[in-house]
């Protein structure tokens, strides 16, 4: 990197203010275009036929009758998507998931697709496709799939990470282990031990916008794809590889995105839409129904987690141990591994061990969901910690403060922490009025902590200064929740101009260098770092131009508050030049002025949060109502505080839904029974109270402004915070998420 990313700036004029976002007016007037809001001339409608079975061999697919239906322009099966993955197992799984090749592996797995002149013809055509299945035994439950006699989902899977390599295939694709010290010896010294097994059910990100794209492949081999995605560069890479195209020939434009939360980081329908368009010779629009989104996109893992934690009488945690089984769908995954890394990340532990198992099940392939894998591990650990605090006889906040990780602590997953926010969030919670508010009958209060790594990654931005002195910033990280506002603020801050002078857009894949996905809370962190670097490069040119205009050495020109200033006694009387003046002269001083930046944004500062939750349980129905909720989280530096608060509130709401209601329900037949918003109930307005937020700012030393990612950590504590509150209210330790009314009633009766 050609610039110094270390934290240097501490006073701000634009960053930290709360202007209206640049894409706001379009979004409140209905003008903003999302995935399904785009059409091309001559466009066909694409639709996908999906398996009704959880596990079956595809004996035969007969598409001839569908192909003959008037208005059908292309019919597609796996035979039209030859395997070009060249031994890349992860890509092969993506290909097989887009269109089943030999077997269907879950209810909803794609088996064929059509493109037709309109939706009714396409639907009719799907009915004419005949698929002959040979049913196989299936397994959808994580614990049953883990058992040695479970139906085998993939006979080429041998557990990795164990020595020696197993001699039989199984549903466990990987074992991972983290930790340090001697857990068994530590546990033997413990005065108090809590040992529990917890379960969490599978949930969906629940973005309101279904997956949608429009693909257009030209007969010259070039193609355009319009799509709602968190990462159009990654989609281009995957689609090009699966279809045997040059990446440069495929231009992907990211639409406005109607929510993603990790769920729009994977291709499903896009390669199919491109292949249909290639076959039909016309553009194809493919929009998933809500039923398809539930059955066939990527929900999170269901889990089963054993936790054992021991403490001394003085409240020191002496040993911590966890075994985590995470479902990953019918393909190999690395979700338990992440759970195993995050489980004890909040604490300073001498002896800690976590073991993760990736478990194949006949459910859709697991995808990322906001701080993926961390909420379930936190639910188990933070529940056990609460119970242990009680055994030791300490207040749960004090018990956590005593054991909280600090700067210099060796994290349970390996690295040594820099300055971190777990202690400060706990102190803030301890002093928060919420903790002292009285509770009524059937009410309970819980609190819990959460951790997320945050990512950085490959990032590229272009900052172009127009002749009128206004600035166009082109970034490649999709804006999922207001990042264009934040990045405009950062550009304005660095250049020393007003926010209104900057317009930030998301560039398509042909207009900018590669960018990783907007995931891992990296959008604002990494693109702001690249924006600062690009702005500094532009300032270098602005100084050169000013020097030229003044005819003085560039070393004598500094950049202050949006102006070139001549320094030194000889030039002291030169009036300063504004960015606008320098830009106006650019045509005669060397041409357009721009700053570019290509970086790998390292050093994403880890993030911690502590939440407080009050609930009331109705002992007759088992229904739980959240009465009050408070989020305290470290943002490093909040670039646009309103949108930071929004991330805190949104994550908390999703976590509350997960804790109380949301779950995938499979029947004995292996079919998903609640593939819709009626039966998969996400929180509505009347389910929630206001969600209070407190932003702490412990600067990230590896970002010029101290910024940390803020998007994900807020979903980590709620499962445990709500569970601790419910457990306190009903006097029974809740071990199974979601705590739906029947589970609460069962716990009360037990």
């Amino acid at each position: 990197m050609n610039f110094d990313p270390s934290h240097s700036k501490r006073s701000f004029s634009s960053v930290g203010t709360r202007p209206i976002r640049p894409d706001g007016v379009d979004k409140v007037t209905g003008r903003a275009r999302y995935g399904a809001d785009f059409n091309m001339p001559g466009q066909l409608v694409g639709r996908i036929l999906r398996s009704p079975h959880a596990h079956a061999i595809i004996r035969k697919i007969d598409t001839s009758r569908a192909a003959q239906l008037p208005g059908v322009k292309a019919v597609l099966t796996a035979a039209d998507l030859p395997d070009l993955t060249n031994g890349d197992a992860a890509m092969y799984d993506i290909l097989d998931n887009c269109m089943a090749r030999k077997k269907v592996l879950y209810d909803g797995h794609a088996v064929a697709a059509v493109a037709a002149i309109d939706a009714r013809t396409a639907k009719q055509a799907l009915k004419l496709i005949e698929v002959e299945y040979e049913l196989l035994p299936h397994v959808t439950d994580v614990d049953q799939a883990f058992a040695p006699d479970a139906p085998l989902i993939n006979d080429t899977i041998f557990t990795t990470g164990v020595d020696p390599k197993p001699d039989r295939p199984s549903n466990v694709s990987m074992r991972s282990q983290f930790g340090h010290g001697d857990v068994d010896a530590g546990m033997a010294r413990a005065d108090f031990v809590v040992e529990r097994t917890f379960k969490t059910e599978q949930t969906h990100q629940g973005y309101i916008e279904p997956h949608a794209c429009v693909a257009s492949v030209s007969s010259d081999g070039t193609a355009d794809l319009w799509v709602c995605t968190q990462g159009h560069f990654v989609y281009r890479q995957h689609c090009a590889q699966l279809l045997g195209m040059d990446a440069s020939k495929l231009r992907v434009t990211s639409s406005e995105i109607g929510g993603g939360f990790g769920g729009k980081t994977h291709v499903w329908a896009e390669p199919v839409a491109l292949a249909l368009s290639r076959k039909a010779g016309r553009p194809v629009k493919l929009v998933m129904t809500r039923d398809e989104v539930f059955r066939a996109s990527g929900p999170t893992s269901a889990t089963s987690i054993d936790v054992k934690i021991g403490a001394l009488t003085d409240g020191t945690i002496i040993a911590a141990d966890a075994t985590l089984r995470y479902s990953c769908g019918p393909y190999a995954g690395a979700w338990a591994e992440v759970g195993a890394m995050t489980a004890f990340a909040c604490y300073k532990l001498e002896n800690v061990r976590t073991v993760g198992y990736e478990v194949l099940v006949n459910r859709p392939k697991t995808a990322a969901y906001r701080a993926p894998s961390a909420p379930m591990a936190a639910f188990a650990v933070e529940s056990a910690i609460d119970e242990l605090a009680k055994k030791v006889g300490m207040d749960p906040v004090d018990f956590r403060i005593r054991n909280a990780a600090q700067e210099g602590t060796k994290a349970s997953y390996g690295p040594v922490y820099g300055p971190i926010g777990i202690g400060p969030t706990l102190e803030a919670v301890k002093n928060h009025p919420h903790m002292k508010a009285p509770l009524g009958k059937n009410q309970g209060r819980g609190m819990a902590c959460g951790f997320w790594f945050n990512f950085g990654g490959q990032t590229c931005t272009d900052l172009n200064i127009g002749m009128d002195g206004t600035v166009s910033l082109a970034v490649g990280t999709v804006d999922v929740g207001g990042s264009r506002a934040s990045l405009s603020l950062v550009a304005a801050e660095e250049l020393g101009i007003d926010y209104s002078q900057v317009r930030t857009v998301i560039a398509d894949t042909s207009s900018l260098g590669y960018n990783d996905m907007t995931d891992g809370s990296r959008g604002t962190f990494s693109s702001s770092m690249a924006t600062i670097s690009a702005a500094r490069n532009a300032i270098k040119i602005l100084r050169e131009r000013a020097a030229q205009m003044w005819d003085i050495p560039v070393e004598d020109v500094t950049w202050e508050n949006g102006h070139a200033v001549a320094k030194g006694e000889t030039h002291g009387n030169l009036p300063k030049l504004s960015l606008k003046e320098i830009a106006a002269a650019s045509g005669t001083t060397g041409g357009p002025i721009a700053g570019h930046s290509e970086i790998v944004a390292d050093g994403a500062g880890v993030s911690f949060a502590t939440h407080i939750c009050d609930i009331e349980v109705d002992p007759e129905t088992g229904a739980t109502k959240v009465l009050r909720y408070t989020v305290v989280q470290d943002a490093g530096k909040a670039v646009h505080p309103t949108y930071v608060e929004g991330q805190y509130q949104g994550g908390a709401a999703q976590g509350i839904g997960w804790a109380l209601n949301e779950e995938y329900i499979y029947g004995k037949d292996g079919r998903l029974q609640n593939a819709g918003f009626l039966d998969y109930r996400i929180p509505v307005c009347s389910d929630l109270p206001m969600i209070d937020t407190q932003i702490l700012e412990i600067p990230n030393p590896n970002h010029p402004y101290g910024v940390r990612g803020v998007g994900e950590t807020s979903i980590v504590p709620p499962l445990a915070a709500v569970a601790n509150a419910v457990s306190n209210a009903v006097g029974v330790r809740m071990l199974h998420i979601p705590m739906s009314p029947p589970r609460i009633l069962a716990a009360l009766e037990a």
Partner: protein
Amino acid sequence: MMAGIAVSTNINGDNAEFLCHADETLLDVLRDRLGLMGVKEGCGTGDCGACSIILDDRLVCSCLVLGAEAEGRRIETVEGMAQGDQLHPLQQKFLEHAALQCGICTPGFLIAAKDLLAKNPDPTEEEIRFGLAGNLCRCTGYDKIVRAVQDAAGVMRGA
């Protein structure tokens, strides 16, 4: 091919005529035949409210209404809320409070809130929460939406 049904209706104050199939939803007509893309589809089953419109002073999910049922009715969509470049107070307050993140739910919330305030100009927080309970938002946790509606209600009463 089925013959189309001719429908005349009024959308956001303008007369509109269209042909549609008997089984075609009003949502599909508005989006695909009339280009009113501000009306969103989140589920197609009446569960998310993204497709909310006002039909003759009644808030409905346009995915649950047939196109043919619009005959002789008045339809209001998000596209009709602003007057020229003058945003409706609800639109302005949604922006000021950052009551949207991704924004896909926003047209539905604006229409639902407009309907709510037309019937109850001074709602309590609870009335707002129950009044908007037919609209799903997955991004915001509703906090800023409720505040924006409260604020807009004040402006509309005061104005």
